[in-house]
């Protein structure tokens, strides 16, 4: 389905905004590239350039402590100009979001057909999206893969969905967590019954894609062992403790050495634990499981950035019909606003002014995580209540309790 003229206007406005800042205000770009809120050790554009520099000179970029990103990115950024890539990916994401929005049909009476322009605009003009795009965070490629996977699943395209999610997994691992709800979502949109046979064929498709991607990478850099340990090892075992907006870095600076491996395990199990719980509790709404998981990943992954937040805030409006059922949106929004303004300020006074210490920035990351988890929890409550109201329509607008 062709996009509406209004939506196309939004795309054009977004492209013009991004490209004009890329080309006319390079100072802003160079500041944003260095911000810890945008660039993490696994998504920093500066590190990508360093990897590219080594790669182009025939040195393995993984035989060092700087570059932890997938080899495919090297090839993409070797060929294409970065401004064009990031801008196009943003528009592609917005377009895929409109595809999902147009396909979305939910049985609840609260649901109304989504306005694709609204969805696209909410993604494209979200300040977090703009900042991550201008800050050239390579997480954007992962985000594109995730959204593409969901859009393909919505269209019932198994191959596309599995390829995109395999690409996401290959780039930053965590999209593997989205596999169970994604398969459910594909089955739901195809109106097919999910049997062991087609699940297995989907999983083998996924594994095959991953194997192909790894094979291609090995052919590109010829250094599989170093690539795996530097790219995925760094993401799993959090070797680089550069500050970011997440919860891991300060914890693993301060943790006692004897407990380091134990707590890395605990943190990962905690994150993985949500997948099963949400998928089992909401089998009818796999799209919302994906949305909630994206929110949780943003809070609990080792190197989160504003780019991950922009993905979550981009997909959340797909469920805007549950908005009237939420309870703490004002509080959550205020907390997010407060911490996104104070975070850079506290980082500044820790690193540059020296008038504060690491605890200032750490405290803000705690508040930020609390705000986001409030948003995730609240939207989850609203969706569950909506499901319950479908069972008991007379309870609409009444006070409820959970026991």
């Amino acid at each position: 389905m062709a996009p509406q003229p209004k939506t196309i206007a939004a795309y054009v406005a977004a492209v013009v905004l991004r490209l004009s800042i890329f080309y006319f205000f390079p100072n802003i770009i160079s500041v944003l590239i260095d911000r810890v809120e945008i660039s993490t050790p696994i998504s920093s554009y500066k590190r990508l350039l360093e990897g590219l520099f080594l790669f182009e000179r025939g040195v393995s970029p993984y035989d060092g402590g700087v570059f932890h990103q997938a080899p495919l990115l090297l090839v993409i950024f070797e060929i294409l100009p970065p401004a064009a890539i990031f801008t196009l990916l943003d528009v592609l994401n917005a377009h895929n979001l409109t595809v999902i929005a147009n396909k979305l049909r939910l049985p609840t009476p609260r649901f109304q057909k989504l306005d694709e322009t609204q969805i696209a605009t909410a993604y494209l003009f979200n300040p977090f999206t703009i900042l991550s795009c201008l800050g050239s965070s390579t997480t954007l490629v992962t985000n594109a893969a995730v959204i593409q996977a969901v859009a393909s699943a919505a269209a019932g395209n198994a191959f596309g969905a599995m390829f995109a999610i395999a690409l996401g997994t290959y780039l930053s691992l965590y999209p593997a967590l989205l596999l169970p709800p994604l398969i459910l979502y594909w089955a739901q949109s195809k109106a097919a019954k999910l049997e062991t046979k087609n699940t297995l064929s989907l999983l083998s498709l996924y594994a095959g894609m991953i194997a192909i991607l790894l094979l291609v990478s090995t052919l590109l850099v010829g250094d599989l062992k170093n690539f795996i340990s530097s790219c995925y090892g760094a993401q799993i075992s959090v070797t680089d403790l550069t500050p970011n907006i997440g919860l891991w870095w300060y914890f693993f600076i301060e943790i006692f050495d004897a407990f380091r491996s134990f707590f890395i395990g605990v943190f990962w199990i905690h994150l993985v634990g949500y997948v099963g719980a949400l998928t089992v509790r909401l089998p009818e709404q796999p799209l919302f499981v994906i949305i909630a998981l994206l929110g949780l990943v943003t809070i609990f992954k080792p190197y989160p950035s504003t780019s991950d937040v922009s993905l979550y805030l981009g997909v959340l409006p797909l469920y805007k019909h549950v908005m009237p059922l939420t309870r703490y949106t004002f509080l959550a929004a205020s907390v997010l606003l407060y911490s996104s303004l104070l975070g850079p300020a506290f980082y500044q006074i820790w690193i540059y002014a020296g008038s504060g210490n690491a605890n200032f920035f750490y405290a803000i990351t705690l508040v930020w995580s609390l705000g986001l988890s409030m948003l995730v929890g609240d939207s989850l409550f609203a969706v569950l209540r909506d499901e319950w109201e479908m069972l008991r329509p007379e309870m609409r607008g009444k006070e409820v309790r959970q026991i």
Binding site: L241, I253, I255, A277, N357, V400
Partner: protein
């Protein structure tokens, strides 16, 4: 520290050990002291002690002129060639001119060690290297055991073998320990080592004459720049005191000179001095082991113009070099007779000074940027020559927590009188750091055009460490080892290739620091946030919805209800009785 023998003592012990033992061919031992007065009342004293051992005797541990303790360590670690440097202070090129020994006997501030180790594999070489470091650490009482893998590099362009080796499977390893305890503390209390700059070196290398007659040579040098006025302070009263106003010598030619304004000119004058003044005692006479005749026998030399007078005591003969460019005089001492001389006071204005050799190039390395998260490294090279370009290798060994970005490496000409285009960076050898395992190694081959100032820059990120990885004084910063500059394509007078080295000063790197008092708080607070998220989400997930009025009563609810009822009745009673009273 329990170590009592300091390095200088170790050296002296070693030497006396040599001079008290057997009688052998005199050429197996050589010693020499060169004294060069420098401007502003300084004196460069260069000691050199060299001895040989035949390879067979060395292999069978029949040590005569070679220190047994060192020889055994080297043999145990399979080390074929060793270069060890202890340096402290900064050589002031602008005042003192070119470095002694062309910088080849000088190390980075702190301890620097490079060695060729015989082994079949790299792992074995690394293992032997660590053994060597630990052995030397005990021998020289310096914390060289801290030269671990992260401080070790394998330079490819900057260091060359100086010995004659037959075996090809040798691995070069280079380690620096910038500014660690060791040298400074070792020298405490020694007047001789109260120097503005000093460098000690030990070089062990095999040498073969005509491919047959192989020797193992150990060469030890101590170079220091002494401040004569400070060295002359009496031992029993070493506290410096301000000069009394009536003792001040003023430059009366200055326009502002008056009764109460003075430009002191004492710095322009070198006070009178003798060996006893500077070193605390006169020379003890010629060493019986050193050669008795010939040029090598004159073991004490003074690099001053012939026009300058020196009063020598009994116990030595003066031999002057032919008049010319580098005028010097040497003294042949008599064994067993103490020897000293008196150098009269000299002034810049009345005495011709010895011409200082100019350094081929000067290098300065600094860090740029502010803040604890990132910065830049800047090395500025100045080529003073009007005609000759200088080719050099810049060697840097960086700690892993300094993450350089080589794509930002840039060399630019800052100022130049040289009108042509010039390709500055010729070659780059780069081995990136691996976190906690290996440091960065950068070797850049540069060409500096004549009469130019060239700036080489790159950006870096500063890593944040685990809190146990910081030293106790974390906010002081980490010392980054000096860069080594090796000047290429230079030949000595006879046309042989000549090694010239210089080193920049070490740098202090400030890293972002966490709050060291926080481990428990952080564990508790982060866990609380995670527990809140986990708790609230699973709470929502596992409970079922009911309408408010359908909530079944639980025990606490019942208790609260009955308590409320009782309070109400009690209240009623009280108000009721009250009402009765008022009625």
């Amino acid at each position: 520290m329990k170590c009592l023998v300091s390095l200088p003592e170790a050296l002296w012990v070693l030497l006396t050990f040599v001079s008290c033992l057997s009688i052998v061919a005199a050429t197996d031992y050589f010693e020499r002291l060169d004294l060069t007065p420098l401007p502003l009342g300084s004196l460069l004293a260069s000691f050199e002690f060299r001895s040989n051992e035949s390879l067979e005797a060395y292999a069978s541990q029949d040590f005569r002129y070679f220190p047994r303790s060192l020889g055994q360590v080297l043999q145990h670690a399979g080390t074929k060639e060793l270069h060890l440097r202890f340096t402290t202070g900064r050589w002031d090129t602008e005042t003192w001119g070119a470095r002694p020994w062309d910088g080849t006997k000088e190390g980075a501030t702190g301890v620097e060690l490079w060695a060729w180790i015989e082994s079949d594999t790299e792992q074995e070489a690394m293992r032997k290297w660590l053994t060597l470091n630990q052995g030397l650490s005990g021998l020289f009482c310096a914390s060289m055991n801290f030269i671990d893998e992260t401080r070790t590099t394998k330079p490819s362009l900057s260091f060359q073998r100086t010995g004659d080796h037959r075996n090809a499977s040798l691995h070069l390893l280079h380690g620096v320990l910038p500014g660690k305890a060791g040298v400074a503390s070792l020298l405490d209390g020694h007047k001789v080592f109260d120097a503005s700059w000093q460098s000690m070196s030990v070089d062990v290398r095999p040498r073969c004459v005509s491919g047959q007659n192989c020797l193992v040579e150990i060469d030890q040098t101590i170079d220091m720049v002494l401040n004569i006025a400070r060295a002359k302070r009496p031992r029993e009263d070493p506290i410096p005191r301000p000069v009394q106003p009536y003792e001040l010598i003023c430059d009366e030619t200055k326009p502002y000179h008056s009764q109460d304004t003075c430009y002191p000119i004492d710095a322009l004058e070198t006070p009178a001095w003798s060996l006893k003044d500077v070193f605390g005692r006169p020379a003890a006479g010629a060493c019986p082991l050193a050669e008795e005749g010939g040029p090598e026998a004159k073991s004490l030399c003074l690099n001053i113009p012939h026009s300058q007078g020196v009063w020598i005591g009994a116990g030595g003969f003066e031999v002057r070099s032919p008049p010319g460019e580098a005028e010097k005089r040497c003294y042949q001492m008599i064994a067993g007779e103490p020897f000293d001389f008196d150098m009269p006071k000299t002034s810049v204005r009345t005495h011709k000074q010895i011409e200082l050799e100019e350094e081929l190039i000067t290098a300065e390395r600094t860090m740029t940027g502010h803040g604890a998260a990132k910065g830049g490294m800047r090395t500025v090279f100045t080529n003073p020559s009007a005609t000759e370009p200088v080719n050099l290798v810049l060697f840097e060994s960086l700690p892993w927590f300094l993450r350089p970005f080589m794509h930002t490496l840039k060399a630019q000409i800052v100022e130049s009188e040289f009108p042509f285009e010039w390709e500055i960076i010729k070659d780059l050898y780069y081995r990136p750091a691996v976190d906690r395992r290996r440091g960065t190694q950068i070797e850049v081959v540069l060409s500096i055009p004549p009469a130019s100032v060239v700036m080489v820059t790159y950006d870096f990120d500063k890593a944040i460490l685990r809190y146990t990885e910081y030293p106790p004084d974390a906010n002081r910063g980490f010392i980054v080892a000096p860069a080594v500059v090796r000047i290429l394509d230079k030949a000595d007078a006879s046309g042989n290739a000549k090694a010239i080295y210089l080193r920049t000063t070490s740098l202090l790197l400030a890293l972002p620091t966490p709050d060291f008092s926080m481990p428990y708080n952080v564990i508790i607070l982060t866990s609380t946030v995670m527990a809140l998220a986990f708790g609230s989400i699973f709470n929502i997930l596992i409970r079922r919805f009911v309408a408010f009025d359908e909530v079944p009563e639980n025990k606490i609810g019942k208790l609260v209800k009955s308590a409320r009822l009782r309070v109400a009745t009690l209240k009623e009673k009280i108000t009721g009785t009250k009402a009765d009273k008022t009625e």
